[in-house]
């Protein structure tokens, strides 16, 4: 393998490097800003800290509007490993948490914490980790994460993730290359803070244990190279590599190629070839975080271009509006035909929407060029000179990409590896027809992304649609099957209608099933009706328990009998429910008991008589003892009476007479509730006229019983009623409107 570790080291020892294809040599224009030391800025009055400043997910806010914050205080927090917090860049008060124009090419507003500075710049308590070497790695990583450090060179990848690789690391590459014209922030940082950068590298070495550290610096920055060499003198494992100046040597994949000749696979990460890369700015921030506990709240920003009179590098607090930096550098908009401020370099940067755009963690340059510096855009037809292909550092065919992107033949553009394009702009730079090639690629890329997202969404929708269809069909089948079974049972019962009790029981069972069916169907076909039924079941519940407790004692006899009776009881409850939906509940109660007793009397003729006997016995016992039957589902001591095998009239009489007052009240309340609900439903379905009478009825039993709960109930019902009335009114209006629409 030509790219194995020893070969690479040998070649590096001979001061030889590799090269990447293509590349261009734009005018550097670095001397504008790299002659003066990094300047200090006054604290701006207001800072706008964007919540999401990196790739991954944002944390959730842990401050509120009006809260006082100290410099360095965390503003967000998250459990997600891909989230890093943001911090207050200075002390002051949170003035607002709202959407604010973002440092993104779209300028779309993003959630932002606005802080009004109190100009005291008071630090929060800092917790440095000076003895990091004796600490577990996880603690150091946590410190880096808590300091909010994400890559400061490009996309802003959370640093702690990059620093916890699963594989062995051959090379840790420190990217000190600033290949874009104008930008000098890393240059100045290396010249002035080489020691601190080295400390950051030390921390990274502790975490990554690389075999070798390569610090790549372009050969047009001799001062920076020297400063770093001095700082790293004691450590033989740190190798400063002077890289030939060529754009875009600072691209991650390009620099790896230059230093190690390894190629990062498309869609892969440097880690796949045993390499981790960090920017010098990130190293500086790491040492700040570990040795002084300071979070990432400021960075070096180059403010340059000929439209600013004092171009320089400045320590800018994250969240400072661009206007603040420009004002400090004497920006003169008169030198431009129209205000034009670029964030980032001239090759890969973007125009800011307005000067309120805040500095974020990846902002390395603010460029205000005059009109002569940047040529006007007058795009002409492609002459197929293929200069672009020669310049492309990724060996793509920019011309084909351009054709297909412009013609919206997105799949063909993808066939030409559109997504390997690093948007470096080298092709556009050399294009004699001045075609803004990169912009076409960006548009095509975002369109492809949107298309893919839509595809995913539609796939999901299809799946859900199909699942739902399947479910509906299954439900329909189940319903049909039930119908069929019920019909069969009924038929059977009809055919064998004899005198013996067994047949009677079967018939009763069939009826029970049919009734259950009816209720079920009702439930399924119309939810509102089902609700109604449910409500009435609620009301009828005491009846059900009456029967249930009545039938329970028979369990002593044959279990089949018991089951039969339970079924009958259930059937009746259901029937009661169903019928109550159309008629009066109170009328229903006695008739039910009647049927029940009828069946039981019939059973008397057969062997069931025994059971009835025991039943009566047990009932008498329980009545005497005023205790619930042992198997009763709900202990209601007085219920068993209603099922005694005497006569119908007696049953009803005893029932109405002997039931305790409190119970009566309860049942009455339940019935009243059911009625009210039913009424409400009815009203919702038909008209409001019949509302008054039942309501009056509702009131009577309530006054008998306990007052308090009734009132709240009434209130609830009232509220619901009002809501429903409003809804009905709306619905009516809607219907009327529709009708009017149709008739007109």
């Amino acid at each position: 393998m030509p790219n194995n570790y020893d070969d690479i080291i040998e070649k590096l020892d001979n001061n030889q490097l590799w090269d990447f294809p293509g590349g261009v040599f734009p005018a550097e224009r670095k001397t504008l800003s790299n002659q003066t030391p990094i300047g200090k800025l006054p604290i701006p009055e207001r800072l706008f800290v964007t919540v999401k400043q990196h790739i991954g997910v944002e944390g959730h806010l842990i401050v509120e509007v009006g809260q006082k914050v100290l410099k360095g205080q965390a503003l967000t927090k998250s459990m997600n490993p891909f989230a890093v917090p943001i911090h207050a860049p200075t002390s002051g008060e949170v003035a607002a948490i709202q959407k604010h124009v973002s440092a993104h090419p779209s300028g779309l507003p993003e959630m932002t914490v606005e802080i009004i500075s109190d100009q005291q710049d008071k630090w929060i308590q800092l917790n440095p980790l000076i003895d990091y070497q004796s600490q577990p790695k996880i603690k150091v990583l946590a410190a880096i994460c808590d300091a909010g450090i994400s890559g400061m060179g490009g996309a802003g990848f959370p640093t702690h993730i990059k620093s916890s690789p699963k594989k062995d690391v051959d090379f840790l590459i420190i990217n000190g290359i600033e290949c874009e014209p104008y930008i000098t922030s890393d240059d100045r940082l290396m010249r002035e803070h080489a020691w601190q950068i080295r400390q950051g590298i030390d921390v990274l070495c502790h975490l990554l244990k690389p075999k070798q550290v390569l610090i790549g610096i372009e050969n047009n920055k001799p001062e920076a190279i020297e400063a770093m060499q001095v700082a790293c003198r004691e450590n033989p494992n740190y190798r400063i590599c002077s890289v030939p100046t060529k754009y875009p040597a600072g691209g991650e994949k390009q620099l790896i190629q230059v230093l190690t000749n390894r190629e990062v696979p498309a869609k892969g990460l440097p880690m796949d070839v045993g390499i981790i890369m960090h920017n010098v700015g990130t190293c500086f921030a790491i040492s700040d975080a570990v040795f002084s506990g300071k979070p990432l709240i400021s960075r070096v920003v180059t403010v340059t271009g000929e439209a600013v009179e004092k171009p320089s590098n400045l320590w800018a607090l994250i969240g400072s509006p661009v206007a603040h930096l420009l004002a400090h550098s004497d920006y003169n908009p008169k030198l431009q035909k129209q205000p034009n401020v670029i964030m980032g370099g001239p090759m890969m940067g973007f125009n800011v929407i307005n000067d309120k755009v805040p500095v974020i963690k990846t902002t390395n340059c603010i460029l205000a060029p005059t009109d002569t510096e940047i040529s006007s855009n007058n795009e002409q037809a492609c002459i197929r000179c293929s200069a672009c292909a020669d310049a492309c550092p990724v060996s793509l065919l920019p011309q084909q990409l351009f054709w297909h992107s412009k013609a919206k033949e997105l799949d063909k553009a993808q066939d030409y590896n559109l997504f390997d394009c690093i948007e470096c702009g080298a092709c556009a730079y050399v294009c004699p027809s001045e075609i803004p090639l990169v912009h076409y690629y960006r548009i095509a890329k975002s369109e492809i992304r949107v298309e893919q997202e839509e595809k995913q969404k539609s796939d999901k929708a299809r799946e859900r649609f199909e699942k739902r269809e399947a479910r509906l069909i299954a439900e329909q089948h189940a319903r049909d099957e039930k119908h069929r079974l019920a019909a069969e049972a009924r038929k059977q019962a009809m055919e064998s209608k004899g005198n013996n009790a067994k047949d009677k029981i079967a018939a009763a069972l069939a009826r029970a099933k049919a009734k259950k069916q009816a209720v079920n169907i009702e439930e399924e076909t119309s939810v509102s009706k089902a609700d109604l039924a449910n409500d009435v079941i609620e009301a009828a519940a005491p009846n059900e328990t009456t029967e249930a407790s009545a039938t329970q004692p028979t369990t002593k006899v044959a279990s089949s009998n018991q089951r039969v009776q339970a079924a009958i009881a259930r059937a009746k409850a259901k029937k009661a429910a169903a019928e109550a939906a159309t008629s009066n509940v109170e009328v229903e109660v006695p008739s039910e008991v009647e049927v029940e007793v009828e069946v039981e009397v019939e059973k008397n003729n057969d062997k069931v008589s025994e059971s009835i006997k025991t039943e009566t016995q047990s009932k008498n016992q329980s009545v005497n003892a005023k205790e619930p039957a042992p198997h009763a589902a709900k202990p209601e001591p007085l219920k068993p009476e209603s099922a005694s095998s005497e006569s119908v009239s007696e049953v009803t009489a005893t029932k109405t007479a002997t039931i305790a007052a409190s119970k009566k009240a309860r049942i009455a309340a339940a019935v009243a509730k059911a009625k009210a609900k039913r009424e409400a439903q009815k009203a919702a379905e038909t008209e409001q006229t019949s509302k008054e009478a039942p309501l009056a009825e509702v009131e009577d039993p309530k006054t008998d019983s306990s007052q308090e709960p009734v009132k709240t109930q009434e209130q609830q019902i009232d509220m619901k009623k009002r809501k429903i009335a409003a809804a009905v009114a709306k619905a009516k209006a809607k219907k009327a409107a529709e009708k009017a629409d149709k008739s007109s």
């Binding site: 734009p26 005018a27 224009r29 973002s102 993104h104 090419p105 779209s106 779309l108 014209p181 034009n340 670029i342 001239p346 090759m347 940067g349 973007f350 125009n351 002569t372 510096e373 940047i374 040529s375 006007s376 855009n377 702009g425 556009a428 730079y429 001045e434 803004p436 912009h439 076409y440 960006r442 548009i443 890329k445 975002s446 369109e447 949107v450 997202e453 839509e454 969404k457 539609s458 796939d459 999901k460 929708a461 299809r462 859900r464 649609f465 199909e466 699942k467 739902r468 269809e469 939810v527 509102s528 089902a530 609700d531 809501k723 429903i724 809804a727 009905v728 709306k730 619905a731 809607k734």
Partner: protein
């Protein structure tokens, strides 16, 4: 003689091979039979799966079936011209403009229930073709925005008119580069 024999054996051998492979293929055709019509599947994958029924069919799949059976390809408003173009490519027919009888292409929307007005009638749940509405009888209902296809089918059944169709907002991640917003030019 020997030549004739050789030809005979060759013919026999080839015939035998043909028989063997033929039966293998025949068996495979029966055994691994693909049930659904691949054309319908393909068409279905092009349709936007909004399941709105504007095409006159109860969902995208039925419309896909109808197209395969010879129906027009310009009846799907949510898909718009892009979908028609793709369908035309697939079916080998001329792309035509959207049949306005079925509606016009609109910006993408999702349903939103004004929750304090909802009376919990569950009608919208029954109308939603992709089960994107959550709720229970007499409880407040809500739309799972991520699952909503913007089909508009829940709006009409709502007795209190508390469902709005809101346009999907642009976010920085779904934002499309616009050639006009980036007039950065080269360094002279």
């Amino acid at each position: 003689m020997s030549l004739g024999f050789a030809i005979l054996t060759a013919l026999l051998a080839i015939g035998l091979l043909a028989l063997i492979f033929g039966s293998i293929l025949g068996f495979a055709a029966v055994k691994f039979k693909v049930e659904s019509d691949p054309l319908v599947e393909q068409i279905d994958h092009i349709l936007p799966q909004t399941q709105c029924g504007q095409c006159g069919y109860p969902g995208c799949k039925p419309y896909a079936q109808a197209i395969a059976d010879g129906d027009e390809i310009n009846k799907c408003p949510p898909g718009g011209d892009a979908t028609i173009k793709k369908l035309a490519d697939l079916m080998g027919v001329e792309a035509k403009s959207l049949d306005s009888a079925h509606g016009t292409e609109d910006v993408k929307k999702v349903a939103f229930i004004r929750e304090d007005e909802c009376i919990g009638c569950t009608k919208c749940i029954q109308a939603c073709p992709v089960d994107a509405i959550l709720g229970a009888a007499k409880q407040m209902h809500t739309v799972i925005t991520d699952e909503c296809t913007g089909c508009d089918l829940c709006v009409d059944p709502c007795p209190v008119d508390c469902i709005d169709m809101l346009p999907v907002k642009d976010s920085a991640s779904s934002w499309r580069w616009d050639i006009n917003t980036i007039p950065i030019k080269q360094v002279g």
